[in-house]
């Protein structure tokens, strides 16, 4: 308790140093929060695309129902498809009508005859898409095969790049935070050198003197993490309407409060470790 009081006095007595420490911690955790949101969002988007019918095969007009069923059966047997959905000409027209219900001109021009029947197939794994596509293309009753492998691959490579950049940025910022915190706490220790000497002479143990500085480091870490997380969460909340209209159909929003709290919990643990580590290094360096 006494150590907390001493820590709080140290914080109050050098507000600018405290502010600098909180700001650098905040910057680190702002970046941590943004990248956590970005990577979690990307991974959800990829999951969404992966779970959607990713291969669509359009049948030729002359294809018979029995031939189409045989092809569907062959794909099922391959074990590469997680779901197979047959869309008949009538159902295709229904979908077309639904999508274009606000444009009567387009509705008038189209009948079930011009729309092809199709198979919508989801792959178990993204790598299976090529196999399914090849199988479909080799069939004489298939007119055209469309699949989103390229989109997902691009998304995966972007996410991987973002992950690498995020990790590198977080490592660099964490190191910068540690060095700045060591300097700030070192300055504080130097300012209180005389007090520390007096306390030692009247019987204070090394840890009695060290704890307030260590608590101070942890305090800056926690405050920085709370502010960084708060700003990132508010930004996410503020940009949610724009993002949800941009990512139409992908169930990313609303962001669950549990997810945000889990991120906060993780960041607080990281903040405590970062604060402890930097103040402990400062104490070892300046309180010999």
């Amino acid at each position: 308790m006494k150590s907390f009081k001493t820590m709080w006095r140290n914080v109050r007595r050098s507000p600018y140093q405290a502010l600098a420490a909180v700001l650098i911690m905040m910057l680190t955790f702002l970046v941590v929060s943004f990248f956590t949101f970005l990577l979690t969002g990307s991974s959800k988007i990829i999951n969404f695309f992966e779970s959607k019918p990713q291969v669509t095969a359009f049948f030729k007009n002359e294809a018979k129902q029995s031939e189409m069923d045989t092809l569907s059966g062959r794909i099922k047997e391959s074990g590469k498809a997680s779901s197979i959905k047959f869309v008949s000409k009538k159902e295709a027209l229904e979908i077309y009508r639904q999508q274009n219900k606000d444009d009567p001109l387009l509705l008038d021009l189209v009948t079930a005859d011009i729309l092809p029947a199709s198979l919508e197939i989801s792959a178990v794994r993204i790598e299976d898409l090529s196999g399914i596509s090849d199988l479909l293309k080799s069939s004489p009753i298939v007119e055209e095969v469309i699949f989103q492998k390229d989109i997902v691959s691009t998304l995966v490579s972007w996410t991987n790049a973002a992950r690498r950049i995020g990790i590198a940025l977080i490592v660099v910022l964490s190191l910068v935070s540690i060095f700045i915190m060591i300097t700030i706490i070192g300055i504080k220790i130097s300012h209180r050198k005389e007090d520390i000497e007096i306390m030692k002479l009247i019987g204070a143990s090394d840890w009695y003197i060290r704890w307030p500085f260590i608590f101070e480091g942890i305090f800056y870490g926690i405050i920085g993490a709370l502010i960084g997380w708060g700003i990132a969460s508010l930004s996410l909340w503020y940009s949610a309407p724009f993002l949800s209209s941009f990512l139409k159909g992908i169930p990313l929003f609303p962001v669950s409060i549990v997810f945000l709290l889990v991120v906060l919990g993780g960041e607080l643990i990281f903040a405590i470790i970062l604060g402890f580590l930097s103040s402990f290094l400062a104490v070892l360096r300046y309180l010999k």
């Binding site: 002479l201 009247i202 019987g203």
Partner: protein, 232 residues
């Protein structure tokens, strides 16, 4: 209680702080350490609280061999020895009450008990009315009293006072010495370094004289030698 056995101390600069000093102080004794500046008085105090180690010889305090005392036991030793430093070493950003409270805080004594003890000591040294003042608001004598109160608050076995009357007028100096004498009568061993010949002579206590790091006179030893001569 305190024993310096053939103690020498050479500083890093090469200067000799103490040279072959042997000194023993019994429990409840009052001893004056006298000698000019640089004679080694403060060095003895620093040795007794293990602020420094001797280059040669042994220092024993309360059965602790300070040469072999582990680093983590030093705080325990320092809690048993109250020190009134020559430059007082009061914390100027804390009140008198907080300064005197410091050794109790460091020892982990609970606040209510500590508060009671601090008020008791401040009454004893006559500073209870100044407890909320900062050191800068106190006179020289009051500052000395505050430093004495802080040194006494843990009821130490030994009190070391390094020239506590150094910058004080004669009347205040006598008040401080009287206070130290009262503390000694209550059972605390007191070693006081002083330049004040008037006080040293009139107190009639044991006097140890140092010069350039050497012990050149010890009243008790002189008395013993005279007693030995008479016996022969």
């Amino acid at each position: 209680m305190i024993k310096l056995d053939k103690v020498s101390k050479q500083f890093g600069t090469g200067s000799l702080g103490l040279s072959d000093v042997t000194l023993a102080v019994d429990k409840k004794e009052f001893v004056f350490l006298v000698g000019p500046t640089g004679s080694g008085k403060t060095t003895i105090f620093k040795l007794l609280i293990r602020e420094i180690l001797p280059t040669e010889g042994n220092v024993i305090v309360n059965d602790w061999d300070l040469m072999r005392l582990p680093k983590d036991k030093i705080p325990h030793l320092r809690k048993k020895i109250g020190v009134v430093f020559q430059d007082l070493k009061l914390l100027f950003d804390r009140t008198v009450f907080e300064n005197v409270m410091l050794p109790l805080e460091v020892s982990g004594i609970n606040f209510d008990e500590a508060k009671k003890k601090v008020e008791e000591i401040l009454s004893q040294v006559g500073l209870i009315d100044h407890k909320d003042k900062f050191p800068i608001q106190l006179s020289g004598g009051e500052l000395q009293r505050a430093a004495i109160a802080r040194a006494l608050v843990l009821s130490p076995d030994i009190l070391l006072a390094d020239e506590p009357t150094g910058n004080l007028d004669p009347a205040t100096s006598w008040e401080i010495v009287k206070l130290l004498s009262d503390i000694n009568e209550r059972g605390t061993t007191v070693i006081m370094a002083s330049h004040n010949t008037d006080i040293v002579k009139n107190m009639g206590k044991r006097v140890v004289t140092l010069e350039r790091g050497k012990l050149i006179r010890d009243d008790r030893q002189t008395e013993k030698k005279e007693e030995d001569k008479k016996d022969k």
